[in-house]
C-alpha cells in the first residue's frame, strides 16, 4: 500500500522529536530555507516531496506563502504525482483572494480536457474548492460540457463543481438548468446525489426555476420510493437504510418544492407518510432520514394527520437513549411550538422530564420549550417544575430561567398571592441572577395588591431575617418594611402564621443589612430610607434617637449617594421635623405606565420635594429632578421609594 513520501516523513519525524517550541521553530526555519533553495533549482525529481514538506509545515501554523508559485508550477507539470501535490497545495495555500490563484486557471482548463479522468478529477476538485467568480465564469462552459457527456466518475464531480459555480455566480444557474434536469434520470447514486444538490441550489436562487422543477416532484417521489423499498445493497446500505445521504438530500429538495404549494405538497404526501412509518430509527442513519422527513412535513402544506405523525416522531425521539436524538428533537419542537402548539403540548410531560437530563445542552433546550408551553391551564404544575429546576440548574441557565419564570407568572398567574409567592421564591433561590428591573417591577406589583400588604411584609421579613445575601430580595424586603412596618408590628395576619415583632427587631434587621459587607450601596440606600420611613410608622422616641445615630454615621459615608441621603434625612429630623410625617407618607399605588423606564427619576415620591405636596402625584415620579435641588434626583437603578 503506497503511503506518503519517505523524505517528507523523515522531516516530520525530526520536527516531532523537537522537545521545545523553540527547538521546533529552529528545525522548521532550517527546513524552510532548504525548501526555498530547492524551489529555486531546476527540476530534480523531488519537487513534490518539497511541496509536501511545506504543506506539513503550513499545517503546524507556520507561514508558507512562498510555496504558492511552486504550486502553480507543479500543477502545470505533466507528471501525475506532481500535479496531485500541486493541486493539493493550491487548495491549501491559494484562495480566491490570492493573485496567484488566477494563474492556475489555464492549467485547470487544460486538465479538464485531459485524457486521464484522474487528472480531470484533480482539476474539478480544485475548482470546486477555491474557484473565484472570475475563474468560474471562465470555465463554466467546460463544466456544462462535462455534465452532459462523460463517465459517472466525472459527472458527479462536475455536478458539484457546477454547484460551487452557482454559489459564486448565481446568474450562471441558467446555463446549468437543462443539464440538471436531465441528470435526474441517472442511475448512479453519486451523480444523482450531486444532481439533487444542484437542483436545490438552482431552486433556492431562482423563483422561476423553482416553479419549473415542481414538475419533477413525481420523479423525485419515484426515486425516493425506490430507495425506501429496495432491499440490502452492499454499495449503499448503511445500518439498514438504503443510501441515507441521498434520501436526506431528496427530502430537503422536496421540502423546498412543496413549500407554499398545495399541488406539490399533495403529490408527496403519501411518500412522506411511507418514509415516516417504514424507516427504522434504531441507528443514526435512520434517525437522520426520519428527522429530515419531519422537517419537510412541518414545512410544506401537509395534511393534519401527517403533521400529527411528524410531531409524534419527535415525541418518540424525546424518549430515545441517544442524547443527540433527544437534543435535535427539542430543537425541532422549538421551531414548531408556535404553529403546532397543541400537538407539542401532548408531549409536555416528556419535555419537562428532560429538565432533569444530565446534558447541559438538553437542559437548555428543555427550558426553552417548557417556557413556550406554559399556558393558563397548566401554570401551577409547570411552575412547580420550573421552580424545582431553578434550584438545581447550572449557573449559566439561572438568569434565563428566572426571567422566563417571571414572564410566565406575569402572563398566567391565577392569583396575586400566587404571583407574589412565585416571585419571592425566585428571589430566594436565584436572587443574584435576576435582572435589575425585577426590583421595581415587584414593588409595583406589591403596591397594587393592597389586601396582601400584611401577608407580603410578613413573608419578606422572615426571608430577610433568614438570609441577607440576595440583594434584590433584601431591597424589596427593606422597601416593604419601610412602607408597611406598622402591619408587621401588629403581629397577626390572616394568611400566614403570626409572629411577634417589636420595633427593635425591625431596626436590628435593618441595621444588619446596613452593616453587612454583602450589602451593595443600593441596598444600603433602601435600608436607610426604610429606617427613615419607620419613624412615622412607629411611636417610640427612643428609637428616633437610634435612627438619627445611623443617619449621622452615613453622613460621612464614602458613597456619595448614601451620604447625600443621610444628610437629607438628618435634616428632616432636625430642621424640617414638622414636615416629616407628610414627606414620608405611604406611597400611592403605582401605575405601570407612569413608572416609566428603569431610571432613578421614577423613584423618590415623597423625598424629592421638601414643600408639602398634594398626596397623589404619580406624574411627579417621572418628572426629572435636577441634582442641585435639595431633595436630589436619584441616580440610576429604579429605586421605587
Amino acid at each position: 500500500m503506497p503511503f506518503g513520501s519517505r523524505k517528507c516523513q523523515g522531516m516530520i519525524r525530526v520536527i516531532r522529536s523537537a522537545r521545545t517550541q523553540g527547538e521546533e521553530r529552529g528545525v522548521i526555519q532550517r527546513e524552510c530555507a532548504a525548501i526555498r533553495a530547492q524551489f529555486r533549482q531546476a527540476d530534480n525529481g523531488g519537487r513534490s516531496h518539497n511541496l509536501a514538506k511545506l504543506l506539513y509545515v503550513h499545517m503546524l501554523g507556520y507561514p508558507a506563502h512562498f510555496g504558492q508559485m511552486e504550486c502553480v508550477r507543479l500543477i502545470a507539470s505533466p507528471r501525475y504525482n506532481e500535479k496531485r501535490v500541486g493541486y493539493l497545495g493550491a487548495m491549501m495555500l491559494l484562495d480566491e483572494n490570492q493573485d496567484a490563484s488566477l494563474l492556475i486557471t489555464n492549467s485547470i482548463k487544460n486538465d479538464l480536457a485531459h485524457s486521464s479522468q484522474y487528472v480531470q478529477s484533480l482539476a474539478l476538485c480544485t475548482l470546486a474548492c477555491m474557484g473565484s467568480a472570475e475563474m468560474c465564469r471562465d470555465l463554466a462552459p467546460e463544466i456544462d460540457r462535462l455534465l452532459r457527456a462523460s463517465s459517472s466518475y466525472i459527472k458527479k464531480k462536475a455536478t458539484l463543481c457546477a454547484v460551487h459555480i452557482v454559489r459564486k455566480v448565481p446568474e450562471l444557474g441558467e446555463l446549468f438548468t437543462p443539464a440538471a434536469r436531465a441528470l435526474l434520470a441517472e442511475k448512479n447514486h453519486g451523480v444523482l446525489h450531486g444532481a439533487v444538490i444542484l437542483i436545490t441550489e438552482l431552486c433556492e436562487r431562482n423563483a422561476q426555476t423553482l416553479v419549473q422543477f415542481r414538475e419533477a416532484v413525481p420523479e423525485l417521489v419515484h426515486i425516493m420510493r425506490g430507495l425506501v423499498t429496495s432491499g440490502y445493497s452492499p454499495e449503499h446500505t448503511v445500518a439498514g437504510i438504503s443510501d441515507p445521504f441521498l434520501q436526506v438530500r431528496i427530502l430537503r429538495l422536496l421540502r423546498i418544492l412543496g413549500r407554499n404549494n398545495d399541488t406539490a405538497s399533495d403529490a408527496m404526501n403519501d411518500l412522506l407518510a411511507q418514509v415516516a412509518t417504514n424507516t427504522d430509527s434504531s441507528k443514526t442513519a435512520g434517525s437522520a432520514v426520519l428527522y429530515e422527513t419531519v422537517l419537510t412535513v412541518m414545512d410544506i402544506k401537509s395534511e393534519s394527520g401527517l403533521r400529527v405523525l411528524a410531531v409524534n416522531i419527535l415525541g418518540r425521539f424525546l424518549l430515545n437513549n441517544d442524547r443527540n436524538i433527544r437534543y435535535i428533537s427539542m430543537t425541532s419542537l422549538q421551531k414548531i411550538v408556535s404553529t403546532d402548539h397543541n400537538a407539542v403540548q401532548r408531549h409536555r410531560g416528556t419535555i419537562v422530564d428532560c429538565l432533569k437530563d444530565q446534558d447541559a445542552s438538553v437542559k437548555r433546550r428543555a427550558l426553552e420549550l417548557s417556557l413556550a408551553l406554559v399556558s393558563a391551564i397548566n401554570i401551577r404544575s409547570m411552575m412547580k417544575e420550573l421552580l424545582l429546576f431553578l434550584s438545581t440548574c447550572p449557573p449559566e441557565l439561572k438568569s434565563h430561567a428566572a426571567s422566563g419564570i417571571f414572564n410566565a407568572a406575569e402572563r398566567y398567574s391565577p392569583s396575586q398571592r400566587w404571583h407574589i409567592d412565585t416571585i419571592l421564591h425566585v428571589l430566594i433561590t436565584a436572587g443574584a441572577d435576576v435582572r435589575d428591573e425585577t426590583v421595581p417591577n415587584l414593588i409595583q406589583l406589591i403596591t397594587n395588591a393592597s389586601q396582601l400588604h400584611c401577608y407580603t411584609v410578613h413573608k419578606l421579613y422572615r426571608a430577610l431575617v433568614a438570609d441577607i445575601s440576595q440583594q434584590p430580595l433584601v431591597q424589596v424586603a427593606c422597601w416593604c418594611i419601610g412602607e408597611y412596618g406598622d402591619s408587621l408590628l401588629q403581629g397577626d395576619c390572616e394568611e400566614t402564621e403570626p409572629i411577634q415583632v417589636t420595633e427593635d427587631d425591625i431596626l436590628d434587621a435593618l441595621e444588619t443589612v446596613l452593616q453587612s459587607h454583602m450589602s451593595s450601596p443600593a441596598t444600603r440606600g433602601f435600608a436607610l430610607t426604610a429606617t427613615m420611613k419607620l419613624s412615622t410608622r412607629e411611636q417610640g422616641t427612643i428609637n428616633l434617637i437610634r435612627k438619627s445615630y445611623h443617619l449621622s454615621i452615613y453622613g460621612s459615608c464614602m458613597d456619595v449617594e448614601l451620604q447625600q441621603r443621610a444628610v437629607e434625612y438628618n435634616a428632616l429630623f432636625k430642621k424640617y421635623d414638622h414636615m416629616r410625617a407628610a414627606v414620608l407618607e405611604k406611597m400611592p399605588v403605582m401605575d405601570r405606565s407612569s413608572m416609566g423606564q428603569t431610571n432613578g427619576e421614577s423613584g423618590g415620591g415623597g423625598v424629592q420635594e421638601l414643600e408639602p405636596t398634594k398626596p397623589k402625584q404619580p406624574e411627579m415620579m417621572v418628572a426629572p429632578q435636577p441634582a442641585s435641588q435639595v431633595g436630589g434626583g436619584e441616580g440610576g437603578g429604579g429605586h421605587g421609594f
Partner: protein, 155 residues
Amino acid sequence: MHFLLLFSRQGRLRLQKWFTPTPEREKKKIIRDMTAMVLARKPKTCNFLHWMDLKVVYKRYASLFFCLAIDDQENELLALEILHRYVELLDKYFGNVCELDIIFNFEKAYFILDEFLIGGEVQETSKQTVARCIEASDMLQEVNVFNVLSTLACC
C-alpha cells in the same frame, strides 16, 4: 459545510479543510476557538454545539477529534454519518487507522477526503467506489514515479 478540522486531545491540528474562502488570520482564530470549545466538552454530552450562526458537529475517534461546521439548514445527524464515513474510509485505506497514520501520511488523508467530499458536499455515497478510486489514483502515481525513475536511469 463550512469547514472540517481534525485535532488531537492536546489541540494539535492534524487536518484542515475549508469550504468557504477564509483569510489566514481568521482560520487561525477559528481553529483556536473550535479546539477550545470542543476539548472543553464533558464526555457524556451531545455531539452538537452552536458557534456563531453555525452548527458544529464533533466526534472523538480514539485520540482525534473530528469537527464539522454546518449551516443551520443542514442535518446534524447526517453530519455525524458523514464524519463516520470518512473515518471508515481512512480505516479501510490504512488498515486500523490511528493518529500517527494521519500525521505521517497527511497528503493521503486529504486525497481520500477529496474523493469523498467536493466543494463542501458529499460526492460519492458508496464506500466501495471511493476506495476503488483512491486505489486507482495511487496506482497511477506509482506508474508515474516508475516511469520517471526509469527515464532518469536511462540518462
